[in-house]
């Protein structure tokens, strides 16, 4: 009897095995594999060698692996669309571009972080594996075709970020940041998971394509679990990207975490979370009619987010806090694109991610040269006289800040223009007007930084402080390249925009 049954089971499972192995297409996750290996290798180096030699080896190794990851991402982006792991993960130009953003930004951050942490005096090598694990998590979030994979990627990312926020384990502010970030992050993960569970309950699947097929057949309002699930997911992602009213943790965490970690947290992970959410929304094939409530909700949140971010930034004194609120405001502009919920808006989103990542990393790299005393001198008063004593650094500061406030001919303007352009094209006039007014408000606090760097007379002695800064090669290259990119994209943004537009056709 048993002898009869076992072949029967084994036949069907053999077919299943063959099918699964055939659908694996593991090379579509090549960047993740390379960077995971890099993370493991650097982790081992961190465990074995703690001295300066180990730091340098670790630095070089992680640069190498991230660069390899970047190259493989470019290669994948050039391939046609394809599925891996039986459709759980898919690779296309959209995910390819975002993978390039993730690995590229991690690469830039690591290039600067090496000298930054040396100057800071506490160099913890676990920095390298953690950043690489975070990149792997982000890549899975974007490539995910299944809500479970999105959650998995998000957790890989988040756990790495919790530790990164507290990487300077002797600095109490860094520890405080880590605990706050961890508590809020765990909270938001629960929301996200609950949302995923509700969507699963409503549609019977966690696969995005299956959900899309289900929703195409019926209106989403027939099943209350779907909109409820989407809103819970919005809250979960909202915590991660610091959308108002879930932004409370942002200023403290950004201020407390070491500068280059803040730079990392404020760029790529936001791109990952927002692109994942936008991808989920768009691939769900929501009917325009049935999702009006959702559009309105996200639109209101977008306006509130950018307004609160900008208004709170106006009166801050600590530059890292200003940048925290500024990042909240930028999430607001990005949410405009999410709210439009169509493919052109996604192209605008990709373009904005590119630009925001470049200019933010450039600005933070510049700050990393100035940071002293566990970043405590990065206040408005603290940077007085920079423009006078180091005109070149002042020029870079100008470029980044004008770009952040969206003044032409910088990339920041092109990015905002693209978003508002898309908003007007889709008849979201009010959103465009409020967004553009907000960007005028934001000019004030970016100008204040310029003002203190250039215009206010320095306190006695602070000029000497700047003349002691040594430009190290890697950091200078990063600043120079990002500044050049900001200007270059600002003047001829066409090809990146076209790339973005092409990317969304494949989605």
């Amino acid at each position: 009897m048993q002898q009869v049954m076992i072949p029967a089971i084994s036949d069907s499972s053999a077919q299943q095995i063959i099918k699964i192995l055939g659908d694996t297409n593991i090379f579509y996750t090549l960047p993740q594999i390379i960077i995971s290996i890099g993370a493991l290798v650097t982790m081992m180096i961190a465990a074995i060698s703690r001295e300066e030699r180990g730091q340098v080896i670790n630095y070089i190794t992680s640069v190498f692996f991230l660069f390899a990851g970047l190259v493989s991402s470019v290669w994948l982006a050039s391939l046609p669309k394809g599925d891996a792991f039986s459709g759980m993960v898919s690779s296309d130009l959209f995910s390819g571009i975002l993978n390039i953003i993730y690995s590229g930004s991690a690469l830039l951050i690591i290039l600067v972080a090496h000298s930054y942490f040396r100057n800071r005096g506490r160099y913890i090598q676990e920095l390298f594996p953690l950043i690489q694990f975070a990149v792997v998590g982000m890549m899975f979030m974007t490539m995910a075709n299944n809500l479970i994979i999105v959650f998995l990627g998000l957790e890989i990312l988040s756990v790495s970020l919790y530790v990164l926020a507290g990487i300077d384990n002797m600095d109490t502010r860094s520890n405080e940041a880590a605990v706050k970030y961890f508590l809020m992050g765990a909270f938001s993960s629960a929301f996200l998971l609950y949302g995923i569970a509700l969507v699963y309950g409503g549609t019977g699947s966690t696969g995005l394509r299956e959900i899309a097929a289900y929703i195409n057949n019926k209106s989403i309002w027939q099943n209350i679990y779907i909109p409820a699930g989407i809103i819970l997911m919005l809250i979960g992602f909202g915590f991660k990207v610091s959308m108002v009213p879930f932004h409370m943790w942002t200023p403290d965490v950004y201020q407390g975490a070491p500068l280059m970690i803040t730079a990392f947290m404020s760029t790529a992970p936001k791109a990952a979370a927002l692109s994942a959410f936008a991808k989920i929304l768009i691939s769900m094939n929501l009917e325009p009619g049935s999702s009006i409530m959702l559009t309105n909700l996200i639109g209101v949140l977008a306006v509130v987010t950018m307004t609160v971010g900008n208004l709170m930034a106006l009166n801050q004194n600590d530059i890292k806090r200003i940048m925290a609120f500024s990042s909240i405001a930028h999430v607001g502009y990005l949410l405009i694109a999410v709210c439009i919920m169509n493919r052109e808006a996604l192209a605008a989103l990709i373009f904005y991610f590119c630009v925001y990542t470049i200019m933010n990393i450039g600005f933070f790299s510049l700050l990393s040269l100035l940071a002293r005393d566990e970043d405590r001198n990065l206040t408005l008063e603290g940077i007085q006289g920079l423009g006078k004593s180091r005109p070149l650094l002042g020029l870079f500061l100008l470029i980044f800040l004008f770009s952040l406030s969206g003044i032409p001919p910088t990339a920041g303007f092109a990015a905002k223009f693209f978003i508002f352009n898309t908003a007007i094209e889709n008849k979201f006039y009010l959103l465009a007007i409020l967004g553009i007014l907000n960007s005028a408000i934001s000019a004030y606090y970016y100008l204040r930084i310029i003002l203190y760097a250039f215009i206010r007379e320095p306190e006695s002695g602070s000029i000497d402080q700047w003349s002691q800064i040594k430009l190290n090669a890697a950091c200078f290259v990063v600043i120079f390249v990002t500044a050049a990119a900001v200007l270059e994209i600002g003047i001829v943004p066409g090809y990146i925009i076209d790339l973005g537009k092409k990317a969304i056709q494949f989605l």
Binding site: S10, S13, A14, I17, I18, L21, L40, M43, M44, A46, A47, I48
Partner: protein
């Protein structure tokens, strides 16, 4: 239909709650009540207590507990693997599936080396 499906469950829940309530109320009602100081003492397996339950533990306990849980959970993945191992072997993919587990365990071993090198298991 609802009753049909969930009826037994409901009955069971009602029975459980009812039983608990019954025991609480009934023992309270019929039992004799004689108090003395020993009865109000903290109960600790017959041995007289020596510390507050909310005392401090060495943080290493937590560290080791967390590490134990992590490795314990990873071990769970080995069970489904071993269940389907024979199927793969029949397909001639035995070495492949063995290699897969080797990779998985290899990563775990790396983590283990890391833990030892960092001194997480050192008690002093």
């Amino acid at each position: 239909m609802f009753i049909h499906t969930f009826g037994p469950v409901a009955i069971q829940i009602a029975f459980a709650i009812g039983m608990a309530l019954f025991l609480l109320i009934f023992t309270n009602a019929i039992g004799p009540k004689k108090y003395n100081p020993v009865k109000f003492d903290t109960y600790e397996c017959g041995v007289s207590y020596f510390n507050d339950a909310r005392g401090m533990f060495n943080v290493k306990f937590y560290l080791i507990a967390v590490i134990f849980i992590l490795f314990d959970i990873e071990a769970v993945f080995i069970i489904p693997w071993s269940v389907i191992f024979m199927e793969f072997k029949k397909l001639g993919l035995g070495l492949f599936i063995l290699g897969e587990m080797a990779v998985f365990l290899g990563v775990l071993v790396l983590a283990y080396i890391y833990i030892i090198k960092k001194g997480a298991l050192k008690w002093d």
